[in-house]
Amino acid sequence: MVYYISAILLILIGMYAVLTKKNIIKIVIGLSIIDSGINLLLIAIGYVKDATAPIFSDSSLKASGMVDPVPQALVLTAIVIGLGVTSVALALVIRLYDHHKTLNIDKIRKLKW
């Protein structure tokens, strides 16, 4: 139960950083925190009490005493794609700084019009 509440708190803290901060790098940090919160929530749903990891390393393990393997396969993909999104976003930040010489989103919006 404590896993659900801490994952939802992580998502809310990340969304607060995206909504109110004015520095672009802080906004990208908030995006990365939202990714971490969602991955924790997905794995916490598939947990079974007093069960073990889904690997048949011994031939005496039964299939009914194991946790759910499907959310783990989906979260494996999600972590790698989160890394890809963060790296492309930071490359765009470097290019924006070369062009405008500032990292404040209010000033970048004002320079256009």
Binding site: Y16, F56, A73, T77
Partner: protein
Amino acid sequence: MRKVLAVLLLAIVGYYMIDSFLKIPFGENRNTVGDYYLNTTVKETGSVNTVTSIVVNYRGFDTLGEVTVLFLATTGLAAILFENKKRKRRLQHASLIVRVGAHLIYPLIILLGAYVFIHGHLTPGGGFQGGAIIATGVLLMFMSYRSFEVSHKLLVYFESIAGIAFVTIGLSGLIWGTSFLENILPLGIPNSLFSAGVIPIIYIAVGVKVGAELTGLLDNLLKTIK
């Protein structure tokens, strides 16, 4: 004013999310699709790691899509940070303890990464984990020595050959079997190294490809520092 509105909106969203998630009981056995995968993974595919057989065999097409997305991300980053002048890295040499320690640990890290993606069907691990460990080992050498170079042509060859091998294995499943990415080699004895058909071969291709891509990404980024 903006902060007060944001906190109010997030409090409303958070209250309803917590209220609906506390109604889901924690730790109950709700397996419906998972039961089918757990019961038939040793007989049908021969690998004892259930997550590996789901990622490579039952849902292998999604893994092909993920490898494509990672390739597009590294290409996009190299294209955005493109400069026409040649640059060399101008960082300093690290101190003596770091240099000697990095020389000793670097082959062991590469060996650990190769072990993790070769034994992906027996122990926890697989292609993505092994590739990330190899990229971290090369990063350690980049940060200790100013003159450590990795040639770009070698990385490009590794990555292209690994990607073509993945698609060729899938097409050979279409030619000699019934569907794309089917298991056509004989499944051996479970829990030994040469078992589970094409699953170790696909994971070796994925591990080499991810390791070469992440090394190229780090090399691109480190070359642009003045």
